[in-house]
Amino acid sequence: MTDKLSNAQIAWRAAQDIADGAYVNLGIGFPEMVAKFQPPGRQAIFHTENGILNFGEAPPEGEEDWDLINAGKKAVTLKPGAAFFHHADSFAMVRGGHLDVAILGAYQVAETGDLANWSTGPKGVPAVGGAMDLVHGAKRVAVITEHVTKDGKPKLLDRCTLPLTGVACVTRVYTSLAVLDIEGGRFILREKLPALTFDALQALTGAALHVSGNVADLHVPEL
């Protein structure tokens, strides 16, 4: 048994909860991996903020069309049924409640559902992009993240200390150790790695963990 899930395994677990035909926005970077792990027989339609629905994987190197990119400015391809639209329509899809799921990265998540994922503080050039828009409007806003920071500090907290992206917006968190829902201002533990005790998980979490019903074993294939 591994000590914790790899990024690919966290992405795999998040992908299992995406229904066939769901409209999905994946945040730039780590969340983009979720697209690779859709279960057989299911096909989500991916949205990118710069104006494409139903884009596909990157083209082979040398075959890029640089007018056909995603929000991370990487070259993509189109799937049958794709559509282009301008930026105001794109964010109408985001804020207007039309996306089924947004899956985002996080620096910190609070038990209130507050998310911090755009700024680590006042140093350097600030940049926000679509982060603050994406946390509002999707029917489900999920976060995928390491359970603790590189130096072992909790990322799941009672209150975020970094600048907020949005207030009370996250409903589910997939970490390297567990799956948790946020309900009524509390983290509800749904799944955890079988080798990890509740107390050990609590010690790595900066907010109280609650149990409501069964806590399942978090099983993910080797990837």
Partner: protein, 245 residues
């Protein structure tokens, strides 16, 4: 009616010092490189226009297009959502030295502020940014139990936009995801100046296929084989070296 302008130099001739200029594009897709370079050419010859406020999603890359406009010293203030990219060295250095002003706007709010200006809506409420540092000082109101931030329209004197096909009436189509901010910026600017890869007579674009109706467009100039910003940057193109030879 013919909105065609014979040259890039004439297309950008009327842009004044201190103007607010919207520039289409998201990263390299849709960046009107030739219009921007024509504007820099004019500044290097005449010293005008200077002190511009530029609206774009990003802050430019490398030493071409928007980055070159900033590097030339023509930009006083940038209004954008994401001034960090692969190679934003020009903006980064000026910003950290306190030599250029930045108004950071969430991307969807930026789009909607531009759309609202074109639609004659002076302000609107959005959930985006509520409770964050980017909403400080803005009015907040509760609708149906949820809090929203008031944001204002964003108008411009000029928009510089890259289209695929234009007709002589200014009706436009775009190429792939290069559309992005183009239709919004055309409507939000007092003067929308468009470079198009193809200009056709009125009737040359199927009305069903028009993306930006010509009423929002004031000038069209032909750039038959336009440069693509990402392609230029991948071969390390530099406006200043190429112009000076």
């Amino acid at each position: 009616m013919d909105k065609t302008i014979p040259s890039l130099a004439e297309a950008v001739a009327g842009i004044d010092d201190g103007a607010t200029v919207m520039i289409g594009g998201f990263g390299g897709s849709g960046a009107p490189i030739e219009l921007i370079h024509a504007l820099i050419d004019r500044y290097r010859t005449t010293g005008h226009p200077a002190g511009l406020t530029v609206v774009n999603n990003n802050a430019g890359n490398g030493h071409i297009g928007l980055a070159a406009l900033i590097e030339a010293g023509m930009v006083r203030k940038l209004i954008c959502s994401f001034p960090r990219s692969a190679d934003p060295v020009v903006f980064t250095e000026l910003y950290l030295a306190g030599k250029i002003e930045l108004e950071l706007v969430p991307q969807g709010t930026l789009a909607e502020r531009i759309r609202a200006a074109g639609a004659g809506i002076p302000a609107f409420y959005t959930p985006t940014g509520f409770g964050t540092d980017l909403a400080i000082g803005k009015p907040v109101a509760v609708f149906d139990g949820r809090s929203y931030v008031q944001e204002r329209w964003l108008k411009a004197d000029v928009a510089l936009v890259k289209a695929e096909t234009a007709d002589t009436h200014g009706n436009l189509t775009y190429r792939a995801a290069a559309r992005n901010f183009g239709p919004l910026m055309c409507a939000a600017a007092t003067r929308a100046i468009v470079q198009a890869s193809r200009i056709v007579p009125a009737g040359g674009i199927d009305p069903e296929a028009v993306i930006t109706p010509g009423i929002f467009v004031h000038s069209v100039v032909l750039v038959a084989d336009p440069a693509q910003e990402e392609v230029l940057n991948r071969r390390k193109a530099n406006y200043f070296e190429e112009v000076q030879g």
